[in-house]
């Protein structure tokens, strides 16, 4: 275990090296790029397996590494990595899903002229994401956090010539940066209070009991919060931005402008889940009494987002946007689970979701491929007959997402969340929000399936199945979307046991203890209700006619329109935050010109006026007198000069007069 922990950096290293090499590779070397990127990701996945096996062999143990990176004065900030169940599970998930998506991309991006650049960015993302999950230092986590944000920006704007893609990339970066500033503030606060940003460092790390107790007891100086609570809430701001939670969710649907494999990897399976991972990682910080506010915030934000995301998804018509709102909603469930039930509950849904949502996105990509680039579900239909593998895989993903009982992974992980929410003391409202969200989830997936795969084809051309390089990853992910659920059932909670360090035991009885069966029954009912309503409205040929109103729109036009317009959140931000920011900028530029610049101009005008005044005084008071004196002198000079006229007789006369005067003076003057 120590050995694996020591060499853990080798997991993100291959994609990082590949990204560096690809940055310098010519865009014509597509084959070399493909081999390099997929090979590097394969190596990472193999190493991640090794690390996972080592963590599983040392059940419940932890090995951490730290080294000084940023030395300032006599102090230093440390970076490091940690091998524990949390990082091992997450690393394996990221590497495996990543590998599947890399392979799929070979087919999906085959025609793109910037194939090499795509794999360069994608590899950089994989490296940063793997670095994020193995980090043993909040600073390293933040660094990787920002780097995944960068790659997200680069890949959303991959087709930068489309104005919408360029705008979406910018929006994503700036919206998440709003949250990241909270993260950064929490980070420096934590560094200031605890003196260490290493999570685990032989008793002195910031997540270890000594520091946690210290932070929980110390006041933050604001509204009676403890330092731990204030830091936790600030870090949660970062998570809210990255994971697309209310009120910072607006960037994620727009991020669908990126290529579909990017949506699958970054904006569904891994990066957006980094917020959940962050909160799971720093969860020990909230262990003290003073920090319970943070899990509460997670529960409320998560439950509200779960419902709102699902609501909006109901009325979207772009196949990827439906899935994007679904992702927002599912991330809400993860936070709900994390806050109400702890790390294992949230992380289990994160893991299963990563597989089935990646599956759905890749399936959607395959559908888009089949329909010649069409993304509007109203212009699809009957695709199931043309693309059978895609249809089957997509259906599995949809059922996993909806939480169809027993057989699908999403059922078990979502059930654990609802179960935890049911037992959450402070309020029962989050539980009911979660259940309503489950109904809506089944509903919007039914609507999507009906529109896309059933009925008659309404688009142009003939749909076709995708090549095997794209369908095989789908099949693999579909299998995972089924079987992964069985590692976390109440009867045998291997996943929870792995994270908590307890040996799981097989107890069939746990399935009907503590209200587990009631929750399962209720969530089954919710799924059935959602499917039933969906089929009632959209089943068969009801959604068939192109250009016809959506059945739900016919039923409830006002509500449908509001949901279709995403509850007007973007518009609201446009007239408030963005307007205020622009007005402030204009005000600052105006002040620059007229106030600060104006004061200087006024000063210089005053100086010039003073100079003029001096000049006038000089000219008319001082100079005038001087001039008069000069004039007198000049006149005197001219008169004197007139004596010197060069005429000899005048000079002789002068000399004569002089002599006469001298003689007279000498004679009588004494």
């Amino acid at each position: 275990m120590e050995f694996w922990a020591h060499w853990l950096w080798l997991i993100p290293f291959p994609p990082l090296a590949a990204a560096g090499a690809l940055a310098l590779t010519s865009r014509r070397r597509r084959r070399r790029a493909a081999v390099l990127a997929v090979g590097a990701m394969g190596a990472s996945a193999a190493l991640a397996f090794g690390a996972f096996a080592s963590a599983a062999a040392h059940w419940g143990e932890r090995a951490a590494v730290g080294f000084p990176w940023l030395q300032f004065g006599s102090r230093a900030f440390y970076l490091g990595w940690v091998l524990d169940p949390l990082s091992a599970a997450m690393t394996l998930m990221v590497a495996v899903v990543g590998l599947a998506i890399f392979i799929y991309s070979l087919g999906y991006m085959a025609e793109d002229e910037n194939f090499v650049r795509f794999f360069c960015f994608l590899s950089l993302f994989a490296a940063a994401m793997l670095g994020l999950v193995i980090a043993n230092s909040l600073l390293l986590l933040f660094i990787c956090w920002e780097l995944v944000g960068l790659t997200s920006y680069l890949l959303i704007g991959f087709w930068y010539q489309r104005p919408a893609a360029a705008a979406a990339a910018k929006k994503a970066f700036i919206t998440t940066r709003v949250g990241d500033l909270g993260f950064l503030l929490g980070l420096v606060w934590l560094a200031n209070e605890s003196g260490s940003l290493l999570f685990y460092n032989g008793g002195r790390g910031c997540l270890e009991p000594q520091t946690v107790a210290l932070l929980g007891a110390r006041g933050a100086g604001i509204g009676g919060l403890s330092a731990a609570a204030a830091i936790g809430l600030l870090l949660f701001c970062g998570a809210v931005g990255k994971s697309g939670q209310l009120p910072l969710h607006v960037w994620l649907p727009d991020a669908m402008e990126g290529p579909t494999p990017v949506s699958a990897l970054i904006h569904a399976a891994t990066m957006v889940a980094a917020g959940v991972f962050l909160m799971a990682r720093v969860y020990p910080l909230f262990g003290s009494e003073g920090a319970s506010l943070v899990p509460h915030a997670m529960v409320w934000v998560g439950a509200l987002t779960a419902l709102c995301g699902a609501l909006i998804a109901v009325a979207q018509t772009d196949i990827k946007r439906i899935l994007a709102y679904s992702t927002i909603s599912q991330l809400g469930y993860m936070f709900l689970g994390l806050g109400a039930g702890g790390v294992a509950v949230g992380m289990f849904h994160l893991t299963t979701h990563a597989f089935f949502k990646a599956l759905l996105f890749l399936g959607a990509g395959s559908v888009i491929h089949a329909c010649h680039g069409e993304q509007d579900i109203r212009r699809m239909g009957g695709v199931g007959r043309f693309a059978k593998v895609t249809f089957a895989a997509y259906a599995v993903g949809a059922m996993a997402l909806a939480g169809v009982p027993v057989l699908f992974a999403g059922f078990w992980s979502k059930d654990a969340i609802l179960h935890a929410a049911h037992h959450w003391r402070p309020s029962s409202l989050p539980f009911w929000l979660g259940v309503s969200g489950a109904v809506l989830t089944a509903f919007y997936m039914t609507r999507q399936l009906a529109y896309v795969f059933f009925g008659t084809y309404r688009g142009e051309g003939e749909p076709h199945e995708s090549p095997p390089v794209m369908t095989r990853p789908l099949v693999f992910l579909a299998l995972m979307a089924v079987f992964l659920g069985f590692v976390g059932t109440p009867a045998l909670d291997a996943f929870g046991g792995f994270l908590s360090g307890e040996r799981p035991r097989f107890e069939l009885g746990a399935l009907w203890e503590g209200g587990a069966l009631q929750t399962m029954g209720l969530s089954t009912l919710a799924v059935a209700l959602g499917f039933g309503l969906g089929w009632l409205l959209y089943g068969g040929a009801r959604a068939a006619a192109l250009g016809a109103m959506d059945p739900l729109e016919r039923l409830w036009p006002g509500g449908y329109r509001a949901l279709q317009n995403r509850l007007y959140v973007d518009e609201f931000y446009g007239v408030t935050v963005i307007w205020a920011q622009e007005a402030f900028s204009k005000l600052c530029a105006w002040m620059d010109e007229w106030i600060w610049g104006g004061l200087v101009a006024a000063w210089s005008a005053a100086a010039v006026a003073f100079a003029w005044l001096s000049r006038l005084i000089e000219e008319y008071a001082i100079n005038a007198g001087f001039d008069a004196g000069c004039g007198g002198l000049r006149r005197g000079g001219r008169r004197a000069a007139s004596f010197q006229d060069g005429k000899l007789q005048h000079y002789l006369r002068g000399i004569g007069v002089g002599f006469a005067v001298l003689a007279l003076f000498l004679l009588w003057g004494r």
Binding site: W69, L70, Q71, F72, G73, S74, R75, F142, I143, E146, L147, L150, G157, Y160, Q161, R162, P163, A165, A166, A167, A169, K170, F173, I174, R177, V178, L181, L184, L185, V188, W189, A191, N192, G195, Q581, E582, F584, S585, K586, L587, C588, A589, M591, D592, I595, W596, G597, L599, V600, S604
Partner: protein, 524 residues
């Protein structure tokens, strides 16, 4: 004379000074003059690297000290030295000078005076970064002003005469305030040596000294001391500049030939930042601590307001100019926070972080802002000096390498981890948070706004459909890539391995963090 006893720092100043005069006076052809100027700049750069090689990283105090009597009756000594606070500024200034010359082909061809003035400017920079006596320092401080003035006035564009005059007069006004203040200090302490001044004021500040030395009425000392402290601060605030004393900057930066802008922002602004630390905080440790809580408000204001003003700009050069004010604002923020809490117990880690961030940010800003303006110079050469945000679109298609490398510089400016901007700003925020949490929190707005305007720039200029008129926008040539490579390499190197810069100043930083009065006195 042994190797280490040679007057290295004097040579560093003399090389560009003499070289500049030679270029100016000798009857060389412009081509020869250009080559000679570059050779002198390269030699100076080598000299600064030699200084680094001879610099003892394990020592905190002044090194390579040269001290000779000059006019002792007037308090003038010839007194030079470097420590961790200043040593990195030498290669930075020398590198930027060489780089600016490399990008100046157009103007060098025109006149040999251009190269001469740039070298004289460099001499001013070197002199003021190494001087430890007010008289000597002030000479070079003013000396650098004249070449900059003529460079803007003679080779600028647009309203270059107005911009040059405003730049010169505004800075001059600040200098005069400073000069008067130091004459008063000389009257009180009888010396112009910075360390002696600091030593005199170390305990009780300047108030009693001024009362005694200038025979002020009893009780007038504190007010007089504060007035002098603020006068000196003002001189630096104009030079850096700190908003709202920055209005000369957009005009001057935009009017100057872009390579000169590189020098103005990359190196000359550091004279102000460095002076604020060495001279202002060093000579007025007590008064600065009293004024700092108020000046902290000004620093935060500067950070936020300049970033916001940058968002509203439509011209890339003006945008980068405001961005420069914003980035230097972080330096002022760090320093002011340190001044405000210079003696507070238990805040030593925060002070170390703030000082380290301060030094690193000076270097980083020189590299990053220099690179951004450097790309702009290449940009202007392709577009005939057009650089409006709305005039372009999709350039990434025509010139992917150009846009990629300029994008890297923009992200470095935004403080993206992995590139140099992050480490400096992170240390500053870490330090300032421990000293004045509210100031750190409010200043974060600057980071957000920086992302807004730089990403907007990239969206409008690089992305979107390629406009037909720019289809011929050529990508970087091999020579241009070579010219930009050092800056890009430095961004990655410092971002990934910040110790490359910090190792030169860790000892000094540890000493500085003990208290503001150590900036000058304990360094000998």
């Amino acid at each position: 004379m042994s190797w280490s006893a040679a007057p290295w720092l004097s040579l560093l100043t003399l090389t560009p000074a003499v070289g500049g005069l030679v270029v100016l006076l000798a009857p060389l052809s412009p081509r020869r003059a250009a080559a000679f100027s570059k050779a002198v700049a390269a030699l100076t750069l080598l000299g600064t690297l030699g200084v680094l090689a001879g610099f003892d990283r394990g020592a905190a105090g002044f090194q390579l000290v040269e001290q000779r009597a000059w006019a002792p009756q007037l308090g003038m000594t010839y007194f030079l030295g470097v420590d961790g606070l200043s040593v990195l500024l030498l290669p930075l200034a020398a590198g930027l000078t060489l780089w600016a010359l490399a990008l100046s082909g157009r103007w060098l061809k025109e006149s040999r005076a251009y190269g001469a003035l740039i070298l004289l400017l460099e001499a001013g920079l070197m002199g003021s970064f190494t001087a430890l006596n007010f008289f000597h320092w002030f000479l070079f401080w003013e000396l650098s002003l004249a070449p900059a003035f003529f460079l803007i006035k003679l080779w600028g564009e647009g309203d270059r005469h107005g911009a040059a005059a405003q730049f010169f007069l505004y800075t001059m006004a600040g200098s005069v305030a400073m000069l008067v203040a130091f004459l008063a200090l000389f009257g009180a302490a009888g010396s112009f040596d910075f360390p002696s001044l600091a030593e005199a004021a170390r305990k009780g500040g300047w108030a009693p000294l001024l009362e005694r030395g200038l025979r002020l009425p009893a009780g007038a000392g504190p007010a007089a001391a504060m007035a002098l402290c603020l006068a000196v601060w003002l001189g630096f605030a104009v030079k850096i500049p700190i908003a709202p004393f920055h209005t000369w900057l957009p005009a001057a930066y935009v009017a100057a030939p872009t390579p000169v802008t590189i020098l103005l922002t990359g190196a000359m602004s550091k004279m102000g930042v460095y002076g604020l630390a060495r001279v202002w905080l060093g000579v007025f440790p007590v008064e600065a601590a009293q004024a700092a809580p108020w000046l902290l408000v000004v620093a935060v204001f500067s950070v936020v307001i300049s970033a916001a003003a940058a968002v509203a700009q439509k011209d890339m050069k003006r945008m980068f100019a405001y961005s420069s004010v914003n980035h230097l604002g972080y330096c002022a923020l760090a320093l002011t926070a340190v001044a405000a809490a210079s003696g507070r117990a238990g805040a030593e880690v925060s002070r170390q972080a703030a000082w380290s961030g301060f030094i690193l940010q000076m270097v980083n800003h020189g590299i990053t802002a220099g690179a951004l303006f450097g790309f702009l110079a290449l940009f202007e050469a392709r577009t005939g000096c057009r650089r409006g945000l709305d005039e372009f679109g999709g350039l990434r298609r025509a010139a992917p390498v150009f846009c990629g490398l300029m994008g890297i510089s923009a992200f470095a400016s935004m403080g993206l981890p992995g590139l140099n901007g992050f480490v400096g700003e992170f240390l500053i925020f870490r330090g300032v948070f421990g000293l004045a949490p509210w100031a750190a929190a409010v200043s974060l707005t600057g980071l957000l706004l920086t992302a807004v305007f730089l990403l907007t720039m990239m969206q409008r200029v690089f992305h979107g459909p390629l406009r037909a008129e720019w289809r011929g926008f050529s990508d970087l040539s091999a020579r241009e890539r070579l010219a930009m490579a050092p800056a890009i390499a430095a961004m990655f190197a410092l971002g990934l391995w910040p110790n490359l810069a910090l190792m030169w100043c860790n000892q000094t930083v540890a000493r500085l963090a003990e208290g503001a009065e150590k900036i000058l006195t304990s360094m000998l």
